[in-house]
Symmetry: none
DNA sequence: TATGAATGAGTGTTCATTCAT
DNA sequence: CATGAATGAACACTCATTCAT
């Protein structure tokens, strides 16, 4: 990758990071391009130089989030640790990633309404891959007889929901910082699965 | 209340019910007054007869949701049942209420950005009351030594999050209907607290 | 048609008339909605109340022009006059209509680039019908042996071109008024066909 | 002219040729600098090296068209041929030139709106010169008693209109090629003038 | 009460143009 | 000479809101 391409990639990522946090805070429709641009001390026109349109910005930020999350969880899954520890680590990673990026997995809009079929497929594929990793860990735990036998999909959705919602109530001003909150919540959620 | 007033109240409630589900689906900014009106076979002008503006519609729908939820949980709290059962009943009620009304507690917008201070206070008060009910149940459970000793706020937020997120993944086409999902999720969430 | 509908139809026609002349003068891309609106002492928003979008405005104005032209020529065609006279009358009508409406048949844009397939079909159908009327008159003249035997399509296109171009050079400040110009040009163009 | 200057002149002409055909097809407002540049495998910036701005591009392409047309007609005018033949040759040259360059004399915009007074004067001067050549031929024909006595300006405008319009209906897929169409149309237009 | 019509502020997007490298 | 990046003014279009009837 040439220097120029690197510069572009860097700029794109800068924009995406900012977009992610604003979009997560105000939602897709509630966020203006102007807002995103001026947060970056850019003009609207410049943002359009890097991204085709607003939808493209949302799409690529979703991809970025999901791809990074997927890398995170896959890395953890391969570590040489008991399944219980890996599961907890995956939860902590999920929560801290969301809190650090000030992002949300739901951009507050029905994705179907703004994405093309191919885009939706890509997104759903990644989301699915991610969920499968969690399912895999749960299944492993059940087979190892350290987790209760449960309906995997429902439990996974429940746990993901609890984690995704953390962005709604976590306050940096509180007693615990992001990592501590992540640890605590993960501990509590573990109890749904772990056999005592 | 005169007949006329009753008629008006009825109409208002009709509008609110529709508004709630559309707002929950598309978010505050993503929903147009036109959309709400035409869903009710009304014209925009008529909706404005009953509600001052869009924000008022959101405000009152939030109030309705919260007030009803509060009534639900208070009723349950006073029932003559073991705390574990009351807690589970409260969770089931919470989830089924959300799924039935096709609503969401978060209207996909930072409330601070659209509500006035007084309105925010009212909303937060109700939300707080509602959370306190849950906290109260949890505390009771701990005192009765049927629940683990936990950080109540965090556990409550975690559980509420898991429940609120159900609207994101529940599909009426799935194997379980709304009530069954609510029961199942509640069972799993109970494990966070219940001493085994 | 109710009074209300009549009012709407009237307003739509007003807008179309203005749009036609501005679009003809400045071309599709060179005309702004703002311009059209303010020519009518309206706001942009109002124009959008009557027409879906700019393209719709162009489409409907083309339809109006073509439909009226078609009525004009069909009326003339049925008059009980020698074919030479009817042909000349048709030419005069064509030119004066364009000059009166300050319009042009070509809105200075490749129609294919802005219209949908169905819209294009409708336009081309009408255009074709109109051309067929001219062709019919020419054919009649040939059969009556008052017109030379010619390649009908090419002659018709040549004559239509000469007439359509009049809007480019006619000036109301000149010696002749619109009708006189139309008469004169038609006389000259007749010479292409009439046997002497 | 140095080699460098020649290279620049060559490049300018390349750009103008491309610009002419795109501008003729899409109109001034409908054509983007990007489009012109990328048709030439250049970047926008490069085009700006050769031409001050978009208007300059249009201006110079008009000049080029008119100057070439003027040369064409003047050459023909001086040929040692009967006026009827020279007139027809002029028409054929006019039409084939337009069709070959895929150009149009009207760039679909009121010239007054984009050109400066001096530029307009230059353009009008050339246009006038060109028209005068036609007028001259017509006058000659009248004096030679091979053309009917006509109102020269009107006839010339009518004929020019018919010729300019050919670009609107000529299709390379048709039975006749550009030259044949030009010949045919010229023959028909001759009949307006030639005494039989 | 209800509504059709109008409004205007705001938003996404385009594009001619500039300029540092 | 060439270009990539940035800019900002302009424009199409939307939509909450108002108001006369």
């Amino acid at each position: 990758m040439s220097l120029r391409q690197k510069k572009i990639a860097k700029k794109k990522e800068d924009i995406l990071r900012t977009a992610v946090s604003i979009l997560a805070e105000k939602g897709y429709q509630g966020t203006t391009m102007e807002e995103i641009a001026s947060s970056l001390l850019m003009t609207k026109g410049s943002v359009y130089y890097y991204f085709k349109d607003k939808q493209d910005l949302l799409y690529q930020s979703q991809l970025m989030l999901l791809q990074q999350s997927l890398i995170n969880i896959k890395t953890i899954q391969q570590e040489n640790l008991p399944v219980v520890d890996r599961f907890k680590k995956a939860m902590v990673a999920h929560i801290t990633y969301l809190l650090d990026e000030k992002s949300g997995f739901e951009m507050m809009v029905k994705l179907e309404q703004i994405f093309s079929t191919e885009q939706l497929e890509e997104i759903f594929q990644l989301r699915n891959d991610y969920e499968k990793c969690f399912d895999q860990l749960i299944l492993e735990g059940i087979n190892d007889e350290v987790f209760e036998t449960v309906e995997i999909t429902i439990v996974r959705n429940t746990i993901l929901g609890a984690m995704n919602w953390v962005t709604q109530w976590y306050s940096p001003e509180g007693k615990k910082d992001a990592t501590e909150i992540a640890e605590t919540v993960s501990d509590y959620l573990s109890r749904i699965l772990v056999i005592k």
